[in-house]
Subunit: 323 residues, 2 copies
């Protein structure tokens, strides 16, 4: 094996899909693939209470996506983050309790036929006096974000919008607290099922409807009332049925920002899909906060850094040096 | 026809079902039936843009449920409220704009083969400076509630919890304002689809979980965050998966009450399903408001009073007096 060969197999393995990368010795992407082999489809026909059957299903899904890489580069270490490390995953990689450093010095090794896959643990705020929370997969994005920001020592609030948006407070490399809003999931449920989905017709992009929704979501009548509010607007002819989803997007994002933004959030960084970040940036600007937006492709950077911190790349070096 | 015969055919005809009653001359229930012939199933195979096809479908559904009554008592008037009077209904009965008296002096007549069905209009708050809203069907419950309360002249806040909970402010027989929270629909979506439905297993009644949810919903982190909060509680072993629905019920109801209860609500009356009213009463008590609870069977009372106010029963008297 030469110095220019692959150095790491890295996976973002979530609820609905898998993304896998073959990374070079500088962390650069040599090859990439994605498959719909997430937790749901992988465990579809498996009794989740049977750890062996579960492990066999995950190993088969892993080999389907990465089998040729494992065969061609047997000494290359592998790392995965996301729901693959949950209680319903291949192996439960657990949670680190906040305040927690993101420089994990150890990962959870899962032996398989062709080697070992190292799973990244999630983070948790324990339930107690104050409300608990959990995240898994986002810790890897966070690591990538902090590196991209040059590992700031001052407090940063990292917002990762999505199905379950995360608002993470970080200080000097430590996650001090975080909260989740299931905004994206509510958007999906409301636009796919229920009365608003029957009102909406062939959605179109409508920035004015989104901004109108943002203004409604800032009011104090609550999400359950402002979301319903789309219906009278359509009945009154003020909102086109095709614009209802964008209106709802505005209502939900404004509601989330209203509740989770704190006065102490001096620096806010958004990382996620471009259009979603643009919408959150508008909602934050509406609150007088100028956010920095980072591109979504921060995950490989996070996986690379986690692998490095846990010594996976040194191991490999040592192994390749031995005869 | 004798004085002891039926005086009114009354229907509560909503989105998912029909309830029909044959009422005696004092408004008492002589016969009752219900069928799953709501707006959805009635218009399932109908092009909604074709008013004739739509009317034919509604007439067929009406006759299936009430045909024998129509044949046996041809002179008896008929009234219906609910989504049957919506834009996707038999005929659009429109909306009265608030502030509106509930003593409607006219209804919307829909002729059919065997006579005329009188449709009750809904109520609307127009969209403008302040947010708009609509209700349809609940105006009939309101009429029944106000009669049951002895037509109070002082301000009353009537809360009708359900799929789309209504908070209606009434003063001296006039509806001055109202707001809708789609709390029941959100509960249904979250427990039937999405991540929380996968966490919940064979729901059981759990009052402690409900009360814990109430406390969480009172916090200021927002519905999208507190609903997700059920998940870490389950992962931490604090909440049993089977208790998740009751926890969520508490979160959603407390969130609704927090947002829609006003300092000016001096008298609050709850009307709806018994268990749901009990839960709302607890959430209100938590805010220092003691609510009066009325039983759900207020609808026939409302329909009877609406028919009386619109002169339907006099018409019949006149007709029966003519040779």
């Amino acid at each position: 094996m030469t110095d220019t060969g692959p150095a790491l197999i890295a996976l973002d393995w979530g609820t609905s899909g898998q993304r896998a990368w073959l990374l070079g010795k500088g962390g650069e992407i040599l090859d990439a693939r994605s498959a719909e082999r997430g937790l749901l489809s992988t465990t579809e026909d498996v009794d989740l209470r049977d750890p062996r059957a579960r492990a066999a299903a995950y190993e088969a899904a892993f080999r389907k996506t990465c089998g040729d890489w494992l065969a061609a580069f047997p000494a290359v270490p592998a790392i995965a983050s996301g729901m693959v490390g949950s209680a319903q995953g291949w192996t439960d990689s657990g949670y680190r309790t906040v305040p927690a450093s993101l420089d994990f010095t150890s990962l959870v090794p899962v032996p398989h036929r062709d080697g070992v896959l190292h799973l990244v643990p999630g983070l948790r705020v324990p339930s107690g006096e104050s409300p608990g929370d959990v995240l898994r997969g986002e810790e890897t994005q966070l690591v990538g974000v902090l590196e991209a920001l040059g590992d700031p020592r001052e407090p940063v609030t990292v917002v990762l919008p999505g199905t379950h948006s995360k608002w993470v407070r970080v200080e000097d490399g430590f996650v001090t607290d975080f909260a989740t809003a299931m905004t994206g999931e509510l958007y999906g449920l409301l636009t796919a099922h229920g009365i608003l989905s029957r009102t909406a017709a062939d959605p179109v992009r409508d920035e004015a409807a989104f901004l109108r929704g943002l203004a409604a979501g800032k009011r104090s009548r609550g999400l359950a009332t402002e979301a319903f509010g789309a219906r009278p607007l359509v009945l009154d002819g003020v909102l086109a049925p095709a614009s209802l989803p964008d209106y709802l997007s505005g209502v939900l994002i404004a509601d989330e920002v209203s509740h989770l933004l704190r006065d102490s959030d001096t620096r806010v960084v958004l990382c996620g899909a471009g259009e979603l970040c643009r919408r959150y940036a508008l909602a934050l600007a509406d609150r007088g906060v100028e956010a920095t937006v980072l591109s979504e492709e921060i995950t490989t950077r996070g996986l690379w850094r986690l692998a490095t911190a846990a010594g996976l790349l040194e191991d490999r070096l040592e192994r390749t040096l031995k005869p």
